[in-house]
């Protein structure tokens, strides 16, 4: 009988090909996602070594980071972006890697399409050259972002070398209040434990609040794990997980499905398993959140004020003041009522169908404020198609919004979707770093519901004012 183990241990240990004494583990990777930005140098390295891709079918490619979100049927205007996308296509062709290119019905943000195609399955190890790979932990996977050298390792050997992270459990119980969503949980946790609180750890989210979340909500939460510094975050698979995966394109079918479910149902942390760090939070303490600074930990409940610089340790004040200066805010300011310019709904954090649904249902019968430029960007072609089918597109258009085409878009502003310098954007993405959404852009992270309330009123607004 083995000792009590966490879900993370079970997956990690069962994928360890070899442990180096006092060194990293050689970890076998079940699923590898690649995109155009962090893969070209890896392929170059592979070719320089005269290697081929060890397991082309375990890698899936799609362009997402730098592609335009308008006129995708045309050639990409930006020569450098076009070159990167062309290079991805060429590399996939040369190495027989499945690619869902621009205009393919399955194209989209890599962390949106993996789950929606059923490529992401419980118990897997999953990596991608993108820190938000933590998203896939929602399915009970050990999933994390890697650098390009490691992309090359996976392509060449299907393994990477990783020091085993410590384990952290974040337990949240109780029912969420009206207007509070998974995004608010994520921003709340980071505001409590800081952007480095999770560093060196892999998080397991547990508790009744987590169990009640939909798969989309779980993905949003796990997605933001990296913003607390954690290597990743996971949630034990359950009936919600299985129902989501059933009959997806690459999910096990028929007899294999039954077998897979039996296996997946065992993926749980043992009762007496221990974690190096544990946090307990209560759902009723969480209100709709918004950030005011230049890292995701600088957030507060939407009815709150920006904390006073005096309330911080002396060593932290310089960075804090620099951050508020960038944002054009003063400490002590009330957030509600501040005028904003842009609303961005999308990204691997909140670009799934449930997010568009929430946004659309909120704005139904209302009008976009005149001072707001809104970019609503679906996470994938499938999300886009479903939004149309469900009538969300019509609702958006009637309220003065337009749906763009899938991609990472203004989350990191590699394409033309850049927020102008000095402008305020309420954004459903994951990072409010300086310049993240364009040089000089000022980002306020929030949920799709908060974004919707802000888009209607033109200023920072508590969505609960509209919910009865």
């Amino acid at each position: 009988m083995s000792q009590s183990a966490t879900l993370f241990d079970k997956i990690w240990d069962s994928h360890t090909v070899k442990s180096i004494k006092n060194g990293p583990s050689v970890l076998y990777i079940d699923r590898h996602y690649i995109h155009e930005v962090t893969s070209p140098v890896a392929f170059l390295g592979l070719e320089q070594r005269g290697l081929s891709v060890a397991n082309p079918q375990k890698t899936t490619a799609t362009p997402d980071h730098n592609i335009p979100t308008q006129d995708q049927h045309l050639s990409i205007q930006d020569a450098l972006s076009r070159n990167q996308v062309d290079r991805l296509m060429k590399n996939c062709r040369n190495h027989n890697i499945p690619l869902y290119g621009l205009n393919h019905k399955w194209q989209g943000i890599v962390h949106v399409i993996g789950p929606e195609l059923g490529l992401t399955q419980p118990g897997m190890t999953i990596v991608c050259g993108d820190s938000h790979t933590s998203t896939h932990g929602a399915f009970g996977c050990v999933a994390f972002g890697i650098g390009t050298s490691e992309v090359e390792m996976v392509l060449g050997t299907q393994c990477i070398m990783q020091p085993k992270p410590k384990k952290m459990r974040i337990q949240i119980d109780g029912a969420l209040s009206k207007g509070v969503t998974a995004k608010d949980i994520a921003l709340y946790i980071i505001s409590q434990i800081s952007t480095s609180g999770g560093t060196g750890h892999f998080i397991e989210y547990a508790g009744s609040t987590i169990e009640a979340l939909s798969m989309e909500g779980r993905m949003t939460l796990c997605n933001m794990s990296i913003e607390s510094g954690a290597r990743g975050g996971l949630i034990a698979p359950d009936q919600t997980t299985f129902e989501y995966l059933k009959n997806r394109e690459f999910s096990p079918q028929e007899k294999n499905w039954e077998e897979a479910m039996e296996k997946w149902a065992l993926l749980k942390t043992d009762e007496n398993a221990s974690f190096e760090k544990e946090y307990v939070f209560h759902a009723h303490d969480i209100e709709p959140m918004i950030t005011f600074g230049t890292n995701p930990g600088m957030g507060t409940g939407i009815t709150g004020h920006i904390p006073l610089a005096d309330s911080l340790a002396e060593g932290e004040r310089v960075t804090y003041e620099k951050s508020l200066q960038y944002m054009g805010f003063g400490d002590g300011d009330k957030l509600q009522g501040k005028s904003i310019d842009y609303v961005f709904v999308g990204s691997c954090t909140n670009g799934r169908i449930e997010d568009l649904r929430e946004f659309a249902h909120f704005i139904k019968g209302k009008k976009k404020a005149d001072n707001i430029t809104a970019w609503i960007v679906p996470g994938s072609k499938q999300v886009e198609a479903q939004a149309q089918e469900e009538g969300l597109l019509a609702i958006l258009e009637a309220a003065g919004f337009e749906l763009r085409q899938p991609g990472c878009s203004a989350c990191l502003a590699m394409n033309d979707d850049k927020i102008p310098a000095g402008k305020y954007a309420v954004s459903t993405s994951n990072r409010n770093f300086e310049g993240r959404q364009g040089p000089g852009a000022r980002t306020l992270l929030a949920s799709p519901l908060v974004a919707a309330a802000c888009a209607i009123s033109g200023k920072i607004t508590d969505p609960r004012e509209y919910l009865n």
């Binding site: 090909v17 060194g23 170059l44 050259g129 650098g147």
Partner: protein
Amino acid sequence: MPIEKFIKIQSSAVPVQIENVDTDQIIPARFLKAVERKGFGDNLFRDWRYDKSNNPIIGFPLNETKYSGQILIGGKNFGSGSSREHAAWALYDYGFKVVVSSFFADIFKGNALNNGLLPVQVTSEELSEIFETIEGDTQATFTIDLEQQTFIIDASGKVIDFDINPYKKECLLNGYDDIDYLLSLKKEIEIFESK
């Protein structure tokens, strides 16, 4: 690509006394469009280094001639955010061989080590002492000896021991990279796959 060996260096340092330096600051996303690994140093800290008209911003340490050297000293929680290895490439390409901070983000640390850029973690008190040393003498030198795992403030002779994973230390001292090692495990990986 094999990495350059790292054994020992002595150099002055450039202080960037800001906390939570994320990889978007080290290299903004709009400069990630290359398909080869070169030239990223030109855009290192782009938006802190240059204004909208591409003029150097006075006061940013990389633009101050009084600061130079192969060591970058950063505030707490250095390298958070995006997994872009371009951040490590940009620092290395610019000429840094060592980054010192009181805390590093995980992915950045791994990426740095995979590129021969040594992350040296010190305590917050030691970090303050290093910043103060540079404030007192901008050309103050420091000696980093990987074999001994020591960071020495040359002026005072203070020796700061730092941790590094023994496997990674071996890789850096010898210029080995992980892929060579993984390729040597081909048989074991095949056996694992067939299970």
